[in-house]
């Protein structure tokens, strides 16, 4: 898989349902990959504290909601990026064992492990002769 270059392109949600809090809301960049055992989701959430992160599984929708606390550092002189909350949803199929989802937040990176249900794991079929 070709590696992606580093870019700064925070994708602001253009037409969201209205949030009660004002300010921009971004779609975090994610990597999602699949192994035989599980599905791994990694999201960049810089500036998010553990207490301000909500991961919610409702029926088949996994939603990441993260609030970024603004740090007051005086007056801004020069701005290349905006600071705002993060929100993104994914539809997760039934092959995921929804009871065993685990998440970890470290150094601005969220890692969610979605284990596959037993029935969805690949099984080798013995061929009888």
């Amino acid at each position: 898989m070709a590696e992606k270059e580093l870019t700064v392109d925070k994708k602001e949600i253009q037409n969201p349902q209205e949030f009660t809090r004002e300010g921009p809301v971004f779609n975090p960049d994610v990597d999602i990959y699949e192994t035989e055992e599980e599905l791994i989701l990694i999201a960049d959430l810089p500036g998010v504290q553990k207490d301000d992160l909500d991961i919610d599984l409702n029926e088949n929708t996994l939603t990441i909601n993260a609030h970024v606390k603004k740090v007051n550092q005086g007056t801004i002189l020069y701005k290349e990026y905006d600071i705002g909350d993060y929100k993104r949803s994914f539809t997760i199929s039934n092959v995921i064992d929804q009871g065993k989802i685990q998440a970890e937040l470290k150094n601005g990176i969220l890692r969610v492990v979605l284990p596959k249900a037993e029935t969805a794991k690949p099984r080798k079929i013995e061929i009888r002769t």
Partner: protein
């Protein structure tokens, strides 16, 4: 060629070449026309703040190891250099999405004030880098005493 009106009271027009576009933006922001920033094609994006004693430079660098980061200050020039490595995923993985980038980056910015290079400090917290640069004494605001007759 970019022409930018900087000092409104006298309405003098200063001419800048493309290399100084960054300075233009700095002044634009300084005088209140705070536009939403858009993808600028460089990494990392930097914000610069000031209070009376310090200049702060911040960058969002999630998942970057402090060991892979190098910060240098030279007079009023700040260099940030580093590399973002994504952890090995192992073989036999199938990507559904790959949006996060990796690789080397380097940026240089000129600060609006001379800084005390001895006392520069940097902190990485929640994937956000903050570099604190104390202003040099000559750049600090000074209180002027008014003598009475």
């Amino acid at each position: 060629m970019a022409y930018t009106t900087i000092f409104k009271p006298t309405n003098r027009i200063y001419q800048y070449d493309l290399l100084q576009n960054e300075m233009n933006r700095l002044f634009d922001n300084f005088f209140g026309s705070q536009k939403r920033s858009r993808g600028i094609g460089v990494f990392p994006a930097l914000n610069v703040y000031q209070d009376s004693d310090n200049v702060f430079v911040t960058a969002e660098l999630p998942g970057i190891d402090v060991k892979d980061l190098e910060i240098n200050v030279e007079g009023d020039t700040l260099h940030i250099k580093g590399e973002r490595k994504l952890p090995e995923t192992g073989k036999n993985v199938r990507y559904h999405r790959q949006e996060r980038g990796s690789g080397q980056f380097s940026r240089t910015i000129h600060l609006p004030f001379p800084v005390n290079t001895e006392k520069v400090s940097a902190e990485m917290k929640l994937g956000v880098l903050t570099i604190s640069l104390p202003k040099a004494d000559e750049a600090k605001p000074r209180k002027i005493n008014i003598k009475t007759a």
